[in-house]
C-alpha cells in the first residue's frame, strides 16, 4: 500500500467545500456530505501519523519549485496532533448541529468544511505568509459562521468578533511583512537558520506583534475582552466552533512561531509570558465565579485555560512546552463538550457537562487532569511554586464556578433532551475525555513528541 500523500487531507476539504458551496446545506444529504468530508479528512490525517513520527516527516514544495520560491508544506507531530483534534471537534460540532433539528442556513456545512480546510492548511504549512493565507481562510469562514442563527443577538456577537479579529489579522500580517523584510525569507526553516546565524534580537518586534495577534485568537488577558460577549451571544454550536477549533490557531501559532521559528525571542519573552499567564488565570477564575450566565462562565473559564497555556509556554525547557500542547488539546475538547451540552438538555448532556467540567477543573480521571498535572510538575521542577499554587487555585475556582451552574440551569437538573441524538454527540466527546484520562499515554506522547524537534533546523 502506498503511504498517504500529505496533500490528501488538504485536497479533500478544499474540493468538497467548493462543491458544497453550490448546494443547499439545509438538505439532509448535503449535511451528510459535509460530515463525510470531515470524517474522510480525519481518516487521511490519521493515516499520516506513522510518517509524521518517522525520522523524515512528509513534506512537499508546491509546484516542485526550489525552497524559497515554492511554498513548503510539512507535517511534523505538532501539526498532526493539532489537525487531528481540530478536525474531530469540527466533525462533532457539524454532526451535532445536523441532528439538533437540522441546519437552518444553506451555507453552514460548506463554511464548516472551509474552516476545516483553513485549519488543516494552517497546521501543515511551513511558510509564514502561507500561514496567513490559510489563517484568513479559516477566519473568513468563522466570520460568516459567527452570524449563524441571524437573530440580533447573534449578529451583535458576530460584529464584535469580526472587528476584534480583523485587528488581530492586521497585526499578524504586519508581523509577517516585518519578518520578511528582516530575514529576507518567509520559509520557516530558513527563518530558523537566519535566527541561528544572525542577531535574533532583530526579531523581537515581529515576535511581539505575533504574541498580540495570537493573543487575540486565543483570548488571554489582556486580549480577552471580546470573548465573553461573543461566547454568550453566539449560538452554542458557533461558540463550540470558535472556542474548540478556531482558538487552536492561537495556541498552535504561539508554539510554532515561538518555540520553533523564533526560540531566542521566546526565551526573552518568558518573564512576560509568566506575568500574562498568571494574570489570565487569576482574572478568568475570579470573574467566572462572579458571572450568572453559564455561557459567560464558560467564556471566563476559557480565559483561564488560555492563561494556563501561556504560563506553560513561559516555563523554561521542553516540559513546559509539552504541557502547553497537552493543555491546548484537552482544552479544545473540553470547551466543545461544555458549549454543546448547553441548551438542548437530556440525561447524556448532563453527564457530558459534568465530565467536561471535571476535565476543565483538572479532576481525575479526565484528560484535563493529566495536562494540568503535567503543568504542575513542570512548574515545581523549574522552581515556580507560585505558578503551581495558581494552577491549583484555578482548578478549585473553576470547579466551583462550573458547578454553580446546577443552581441556575433547569436542564442540568431535569428534563429530557429536546432532540434525539444531540446527547450522543456530546456524550461521545466526554467519553473521549474519560478514555484519555484512564489511558493517558497517547496524550502524553503527543505532547512530548510534538515539541521534540522544534527550534532545530532540519
Amino acid at each position: 500500500m502506498t503511504p498517504m500523500p500529505l496533500w490528501g487531507p488538504l485536497l479533500l476539504p478544499w474540493v468538497l467545500a467548493a462543491v458544497l458551496a453550490f448546494l443547499d446545506g439545509r438538505r439532509a444529504w448535503v449535511a451528510w456530505l459535509g460530515i463525510a468530508t470531515l470524517a474522510a479528512t480525519l481518516v487521511c490525517t490519521a493515516l499520516l501519523l506513522p510518517q509524521a513520527w518517522s525520522a523524515h516527516p512528509p513534506e512537499f514544495v508546491t509546484g516542485d519549485w526550489p525552497v524559497g520560491v515554492g511554498i513548503r508544506l510539512r507535517a511534523d507531530p505538532l501539526s498532526i496532533v493539532y489537525a487531528l483534534v481540530s478536525t474531530a471537534v469540527l466533525l462533532g460540532t457539524l454532526v451535532y448541529e445536523h441532528v439538533a433539528g437540522g441546519i437552518t442556513s444553506r451555507s453552514f456545512p460548506s463554511l464548516v468544511v472551509f474552516l476545516g480546510a483553513g485549519l488543516t492548511g494552517v497546521f501543515f504549512t511551513s511558510d509564514a505568509f502561507n500561514f496567513y493565507v490559510f489563517f484568513e481562510l479559516a477566519m473568513t469562514s468563522a466570520f460568516a459562521l459567527a452570524s449563524y442563527g441571524e437573530s440580533p443577538r447573534n449578529l451583535r456577537a458576530a460584529f464584535t468578533f469580526v472587528v476584534v479579529n480583523l485587528m488581530g489579522s492586521t497585526l499578524f500580517l504586519t508581523a509577517v511583512v516585518m519578518l520578511y523584510l528582516t530575514t529576507g525569507t518567509l520559509d520557516m526553516q530558513s527563518i530558523i537558520a537566519w535566527g541561528q546565524a544572525q542577531d535574533p534580537h532583530a526579531l523581537v518586534v515581529p515576535g511581539t506583534l505575533l504574541l498580540c495577534a495570537f493573543g487575540v485568537k486565543l483570548g488571554f488577558f489582556p486580549f480577552h475582552f471580546w470573548a465573553p460577549a461573543v461566547y454568550r451571544d453566539a449560538g452554542p454550536t458557533v461558540a463550540a466552533l470558535l472556542a474548540g477549533a478556531l482558538a487552536n490557531i492561537g495556541s498552535y501559532g504561539l508554539i510554532r512561531f515561538g518555540a520553533d521559528v523564533m526560540p531566542q525571542v521566546l526565551e526573552r519573552a518568558r518573564p512576560l509570558l509568566e506575568v500574562l499567564g498568571a494574570a489570565s488565570i487569576l482574572y478568568g477564575s475570579v470573574l467566572a465565579l462572579s458571572r450568572r450566565d453559564t455561557r459567560e462562565v464558560l467564556a471566563y473559564a476559557s480565559i483561564t485555560q488560555a492563561g494556563l497555556i501561556i504560563a506553560a509556554l513561559g516555563l523554561d525547557g521542553p516540559e513546559g512546552l509539552s504541557a502547553a500542547v497537552a493543555l491546548a488539546l484537552a482544552g479544545s475538547v473540553d470547551k466543545t463538550a461544555l458549549f454543546l451540552a448547553q441548551d438542548r438538555g437530556g440525561e447524556r448532556a448532563r453527564r457530558a457537562y459534568s465530565v467536561a467540567a471535571f476535565s476543565t477543573a483538572g479532576v481525575p480521571p479526565t484528560a484535563g487532569f493529566w495536562s494540568k498535572a503535567w503543568l504542575l510538575r513542570a512548574a515545581l521542577e523549574r522552581g515556580h511554586p507560585l505558578l503551581a499554587a495558581l494552577v491549583v487555585l484555578a482548578s478549585v475556582l473553576s470547579l466551583l464556578a462550573l458547578f454553580r451552574a446546577y443552581q441556575r440551569e433547569q436542564w442540568l437538573r431535569e428534563g429530557a433532551a429536546l432532540h434525539r441524538g444531540t446527547g450522543a454527540v456530546v456524550f461521545a466527546l466526554s467519553l473521549a475525555l474519560v478514555a484519555t484520562g484512564l489511558w493517558p499515554e497517547p496524550l502524553l506522547r503527543a505532547g512530548r513528541d510534538a515539541v521534540a524537534g522544534l527550534g532545530v533546523r532540519r
Partner: protein, 147 residues
Amino acid sequence: MRSFVPPLSRMLVWPSLIIALALWLKGGTEVGGGFPAGALAGLVVLLQYVVTGREQARRYVAVRYAAPLAGVGLLLVVGTAFLPVLAGYTPVSLFPQPGQPGLGAGAFHLHTALVFEGGLMLIVFGLVVTVIDRFALSTSTEEESGP
C-alpha cells in the same frame, strides 16, 4: 443643477475594468495579479452602489451573479492547484513548466498561472460585491421601515 458625479462614475466603469484585466494578465513577477484585479473591480462596483444606489448598480450582470462568480473562481483555483495531482505532479504545479515551450505572443503568455489568478480575481470580486450588496440591502430596508 444636475450633478456631474453619476455620469462620471458610470464612465469610470469600463476603463477600471480594463485596468483590472491588465493587472490580472500582468501578474507573475511584476506588480499585479488576481487579488488587486479583483479588489479594483470590486471598488468600481462599490462606487456605483454609493453614487447611484443598489437598483442601478445591479443592472450589471456580474453584480447580480457575484456570489456564484466567487464559487466559479474557487473551483478554478482548486482545479489548477489540485488537477496536476491526478497526473502525478505535486500540487500547484503550473504549466507550461520552466524549460517547456510556451504559447503566446509578445508580452502575453498562456499559462495555467493565469487561470489560478483569474480564479482568485473572481473570488475577491465576488466576495467584495456580495458583502457590499448585503450592506446596501440592509440599509435600504431600514430606510423603508424607518420613520
